[in-house]
Amino acid sequence: MDISVKLPGLNLKNPIIPASGCFGFGKEYAELYDLSVLGGIAIKSATPQERFGNPTPRIAETPMGMLNAIGLQNKGVDSIIENELPFLAQYDTEIMANVAGACEEDYVEVIKKLNDQPVIKAYELNISCPNVKHGGIGLGTKPELAAHVTKICKEAATKPVYVKLSPNVTDIVEIAKAVEEAGADGIVLINTLMGMRINLKTGKPLLANVTGGLSGPAIKPVALRMVYQVAQAVNIPIIGVGGITCAEDVLEFLNAGASAVEVGAQNFVDPYVCPKIIEDLPKVLEKYGYKNIEEAVGRSFK
């Protein structure tokens, strides 16, 4: 079965994309398998300057999930262009550049620098990372702010712009509609839920950053709900993310209204999860009686 998916800027040979922050810039996973099997790759958030991120511990385990408070550690967009993109250019897969910043201008600056990098096929605005103070979080939780950053990024960008939304909001539909209206070419749902753990030995928060982003299977029902709600309210494609571990999970997201998916934390648990899903997905689609992948998209409300 042909499971290719065409989205703005992205010619995905299959709908499986490792999620930003969970795959670095591909180098480490390239030691395990050929990255060309992937539909695409959402690379780690890029900011204008280098960021060291938060102090450690940055990782905590939770029931069927994990918290992270990496804090957008990255070497800055110039270093990424110089040191990471040439490596990725070897592979036949679609690269989405995840863009982050501490203010709106940061987004524009990163986009302008990436515009003439042919390896980048689309942008993914991370307006939702909950781990940066005065950073993306504010933008992602207010429709006006989300719309505005989308608009100025669209103006700056020569490639399609996807907006990755925060699930830590009262009304996800309102925000999705706002970014659609502002010109977004697609929506990515969801980033992490804001959570916390305590270290019982000290009685203090386990993460040095106090709170962190919850990901993994635990959040899948929330992600599915948001995809389902937003898919019925907007006319741009949705990339679903949150707790995906297998081809059945992918089908659930397709049924909920996603056109493609990103796989995040599961890459840590099963480093071969993406190729496995790619192998299994046609079989699973057949098992449930689909003749092609489009039939599955949004079936839950169609």
Binding site: C22, E28, R58, Q73, F268, V269, P271, P275
Partner: protein
């Protein structure tokens, strides 16, 4: 696998036994042993838990890997019950370099001891003289003294409560026994490594960190070097040159 190699395997658990207070030893039959080096680690999936647990490779025998683990929390507690198959991923990290040395000093604290065992074996096979200093809280927690001796190491023990060997830390045992070797390979709790990092200038230390991916992609496990650059414990380490890391 048709799309690449496989560093993941369902290893067969050959044995899983208690060897000291809260300390267990597990022998795993796995092809991953073939590429393993001393000081590397594997990531273990414990049924019921989401993230893998990083555990050092203690011994490498053809198609067998031996690990030694301490019951610290829920995951390692669950490991004591396991039999049958174990989902492992590895070997990961850089490992201890096996250099040309006449003499090496291994300093292990607690479950920092296990990776030093294969390290000792490989240095001994290159005819180095190996001294192993093993630190623990009390006599009941000490393990592998005889095993290191059987390899041919000089072994000294330190316990915090003085119930075995020198009373105090591994460094106290080194002092008490006038161990003079200056090339040190060490693994153990952070305070011990800090002291060693100050006292010695030659050799390597192996660090621990909370990990997610274990292979260098997530930036979960970083430490800073003395110049302020960040290093990933899982990929750039867990073994670092003495003095390189800001502890």
């Amino acid at each position: 696998m048709k799309w690449g190699n496989s560093m993941q395997e369902f290893a067969k658990i050959l044995s899983n036994v208690k060897i000291a207070k809260d300390i267990w030893k597990m022998e795993l039959k796995t092809d991953l042993a073939k590429t393993a080096k001393p000081g590397q680690f594997i990531e273990i999936t414990v049924p019921g838990f989401y993230l893998r647990r990083p555990i050092s490779i203690s011994e490498i025998r053809e198609d067998v890997l031996v690990i030694i683990y301490k019951v610290l929390g829920e995951g390692t507690l669950k490991m004591t019950e396991l039999e049958g198959k174990l989902d492992i991923f590895g070997p990961l990290g850089n490992g201890f370099p096996i250099e040309d040395k006449e003499e090496v000093l291994l300093i292990g604290g607690g479950v920092g001891v296990p990776p030093l065992y294969e390290t000792a074996k490989q240095y001994l096979s290159k005819n180095a003289r190996v001294t192993a200093v093993l630190g623990a809280n009390d006599a009941d927690s000490v393990f592998y003294v005889d095993e290191f001796k059987a390899l041919g190491c000089d072994v000294y023990v330190a316990t915090m409560d003085g119930t075995l060997g020198t009373k105090g830390t591994a460094l106290d045992a080194i002092k008490e026994n006038n161990v003079t070797c200056n090339f040190v390979l060490s693994c153990g709790p952070l305070p011990m490594l800090k002291a060693i990092n100050e006292q010695y200038s030659e050799g390597y230390i192996s660090l621990e960190a909370r990990m997610a991916c274990g292979l260098g992609a997530c930036m979960g496990c970083v430490v800073k070097d003395v110049e302020g650059h960040s290093l990933r414990v899982c990929k750039d380490g867990p073994v670092f040159e003495m003095g390189k890391v800001a502890l």
